[in-house]
């Protein structure tokens, strides 16, 4: 039931937006095509502007991950997180969460392939993957697009949110699925 509702929403949301907004526009006598082109023009500049920011951030994150430094850090924190009720296998995923969206999705997929989606590890990995957004990617792209380079306290806020999301995931999965 829920899955079919979900399916309907995810299949219809975008077509409906594309149908209703221009329709409403023409009813309100907006020159729809001209307005569309005028708005779309901005897209190009923004896409180009974030390139240097994203290159800088992705290079550093990718070196950190590929070199094995991520594994070293997550091993060091193992006792702490195991105490909270997380199996050691999901720890790299926890550390990857704020750094790389593709990385964390890859790890979650890998865990489900190995342990099965309905295992405790599979469910916890799924919950963690959806628990927050990729803080560093969002900050890099969003601030980069307007040329802001001093992020002030937003890095700390984002990381606190990530940690809260992870702890909450571990707690709720233990409560529901153990």
């Amino acid at each position: 039931m829920f899955l079919s509702v979900l399916d309907v929403i995810s299949r219809w949301a975008i077509p409906m937006l594309l149908f209703l907004v221009p329709l409403w526009g023409i009813i309100k006598k907006v020159p729809v095509y001209e307005a569309f082109v005028e708005g779309a023009e901005e897209g190009f500049g923004v896409g180009i502007k974030i390139i240097p920011f994203l290159v800088g951030m992705l290079v550093s994150i990718s070196v950190f991950r590929a070199s094995g430094a991520l594994d070293v850090v997550s091993h060091a924190c193992e006792p702490l997180l195991v105490r909270l009720g997380a199996p050691a296998e999901v720890l790299p995923l926890a550390f990857m969460r704020p750094l790389s969206g593709n990385g964390v999705l890859g790890m979650a997929t890998e865990l489900m392939k190995t342990f099965g989606p309905d295992s405790f590890i599979g469910r916890l990995a799924s919950t963690m993957q959806g628990s927050t957004d990729t803080t560093f990617y969002v900050l890099t792209v969003y601030f980069g697009s307007v040329g802001v380079s001093k992020y002030r306290y937003s890095v700390i806020t984002g990381l606190v949110a990530d940690i809260s999301g992870l702890i909450a995931s571990i707690y709720i999965c233990n409560a529901l699925f153990r």
Partner: protein, 195 residues
């Protein structure tokens, strides 16, 4: 802050690779991810154009304004530094709605539009404004009602119940959102006092 995080990630990665005796990994990772970053940005352009175009129609038809009037009471509390009629609020709302529904491709263009409007209020400075920090706190921690990607992965691996994690995800994202709003509020208040 960010300077140190960036440097730490990069340098510790190189040191660990050297200690592990596979320093060539660094070269490969650095070059590959630099390429990937550009590809991501280029791929974003088309989707950006599409949604910014649609949004402009919505703006001119008064849709965005109607939407922002609807949630104004909450927004004014969260963003005291943004004038209640400002275009930034409309874009912020569109971004958060897209995030909540799990429409990733639409969320980013609306979000970047919001940042542009916020940057106008900020006078083009290189330092983040209060409004930007609050917006990104909400954005990165945003409640997700439909974690579409992970459900798709679970379906792929023949899960008996692919959506059973939705409740848990909503709980986890709510916790992180509450913490983000709280921490952001505390920072804002602390900064005010020092001025």
């Amino acid at each position: 802050m960010l300077n140190y995080i960036w440097l730490t990630l990069l340098l510790s990665g190189i040191v660990v690779a050297a200690l592990n005796g596979n320093i060539e990994v660094v070269t490969q990772a650095a070059l590959q991810s630099a390429n990937d970053a550009v590809a991501i940005c280029i791929n974003l352009i088309g989707v950006m154009c599409l949604w910014l175009g649609i949004m402009r129609i919505g703006e001119k038809a008064g849709l965005i304004e109607a939407l922002s009037r609807l949630v104004r009471p909450i927004m004014v509390r969260l963003f005291p530094s943004i004038p209640p009629d400002h275009a930034a609020l409309g874009a912020i709302i569109m971004n958060l709605s897209a995030n909540i529904l799990g429409l990733g491709s639409a969320a980013t263009p609306f979000g970047l539009k919001a940042m542009q409007e916020l940057q106008k209020l900020n006078g083009g400075r290189k330092e983040a404004s209060e409004g930007m920090c609050t917006f990104l706190a909400l954005n990165t921690s945003c409640i997700t009602l439909i974690p579409a990607t992970i459900i798709a992965v679970r379906v792929n691996f023949n899960s008996a119940n692919p959506t059973e994690i939705v409740g848990a995800t909503i709980f986890a994202t709510s916790c992180s959102m509450i913490m983000a709003v709280l921490v952001d509020y505390l920072f804002r208040r602390a900064n005010r006092r020092t001025i």
